[in-house]
Amino acid sequence: MFKNRKFLMFMLFAALSVLVLAACGGDDKGTKDKDSKGGKSTSALEAIKANDKIVWGVKNDTKLFGLKNPSTGEIEGFDVDIAKEITKIILGDETKVEFKEVTSKTRIPMLNNGDIDAIIATMTISEERRKEVDFTDVYFEAGQSLLVKKGSKIKSIDDIDSSTKVIAVKGSTSAINIREKAPKAQVLEFENYAEAFTALKAGQGDVLTTDDSILYGMASEDNSFELVGGKFTEEPYGIAMKKGNDDFVKAVNDALAELKSNGKYDEIHDKWIEK
């Protein structure tokens, strides 16, 4: 009897500690809300100008968009160059940037707790995400596609059936899309693109799906793989900001428009995408 009571106490204690933890989590959210309310009095854009720096969340593992150059330690790619040009327009100097490395999983929490000012990390604009963050205008038109080993019997999305193992990345819209477009497929989700591509190369899946922009990067690295079937979704990439920072969104949109009109955008696009 005594022993059972002790066990019960033990369980109770464990449950309690979890609830306390949970309560702390709740508090956390509360303070965040207060912060964003307070943020309205001094706008995000003013805060950034006062800080004289924009902190961008970028990918570090995505070829062509945001990839860490191992020899320099710098992150390079389309997203990075666009971020630099926008910073140049807003703050007058392209060196007033700081890049923080994010993943699909960490980018929204990092934005919301103030670690970064904006996300420019191959992020598709979606309705679900709009509930969490604000997006700028589209800065890149990608579309989801399929990467397979050359000679694969999969030629398009219609060839995917219940025997097909589809590799995707955790938290990506492509992982959700593929379940809609090919509901029978078995979807395996990996931590990042590198692991996903490694899994494909090891034959742990038949096809890797994500935005064509990223797949082109993979295919350029290992030419025994190829894209098939063309785009089957529209994946408009947007830059994400914390909700309610309208003036910052507008400033970035203006900057984007300027880049497109003065030819700078096409220059960067050609440098990375259309080789």
Binding site: K3, F10, V18, G25, G171, L188, E195, A202
Partner: protein, 217 residues
């Protein structure tokens, strides 16, 4: 407060993950106990080449990260033509990794039994194997139970690493849910609760076993 709708809306995924974690843990627990005992025997047996194999095994596998063993089995072995699913690779990696620690726990337990016990048994004509079975192991098990329990608890928690090979266990399902809903914190708390459902009874059972064995002496 905790967002319980996350739990109720995704309960199917949580249950699926819980089921897979439970199965992986159970398989790896049995597997690593058998393999670990075998390696311990290799290390203790009075046969030099077996000692070397045992030592090499332990020193190799307990000194590299589980993550790397797992990744090697998942994407390295296919190069040699052996392909395991994430679930299988995870079970194998956990078994191999944990066995190294279990072997050490068992070896330490066996060595802690006084040498005189072996001498008394061997001088009465019992063979080495009989001495182990009837005299040394029954005494060693009492000493080994607590560290063994720790290893089993670690095993259950270490199974969360399997998320990187999409093994479909708790951590993987949690990652999927949190990456879709963006409420990472709450999801991880629910995952922690599911782990507790496995680890607390295990922990309690080990304590009970330890006490009842202590009493029997």
């Amino acid at each position: 407060m905790l967002d319980f709708t996350i739990l109720t809306e995704n309960i199917g995924m949580f249950i699926e993950g819980f089921k897979n974690t439970l199965i992986v843990s159970l398989l790896a627990l049995i597997g690593s106990f058998i393999l670990g005992t075998l390696i311990a025997v290799f290390r203790i047996a009075p046969i030099k080449p077996l000692n070397w194999i045992g030592t090499m095994y332990v020193e190799f596998f307990r000194n590299i990260p589980l993550l790397i063993i797992l990744f090697f089995i998942f994407v390295g072995l296919p190069v040699l033509g052996v392909r395991f699913s994430g679930f299988q690779a995870g079970t194998i990696a956990l078994t191999i990794y944990t066995a190294a620690f279990i072997a050490e726990a068992i070896r330490a337990g066996v060595l802690s039994v006084h040498k005189g016990q072996t001498e008394a048994a061997r001088s009465s004509g019992l063979t080495y194997v009989q001495t182990m079975r009837y005299i040394i192991l029954p005494q060693a098990i009492k000493i080994v139970i607590p560290p063994l329990g720790n290893q089993f608890l670690n095993l259950v928690k270490n199974s969360s690493v399997l998320t990187i090979v999409a093994a479909g266990e708790l951590m993987y399902q949690g990652d999927l849910i949190s990456s879709r809903t963006f409420v990472t914190f709450d999801v991880y708390i629910f995952i922690a609760l599911f782990y507790l459902i496995i680890t607390l009874p295990l922990s309690y059972g080990v304590n009970r076993l330890e006490k009842s064995l202590a009493k029997s002496n």
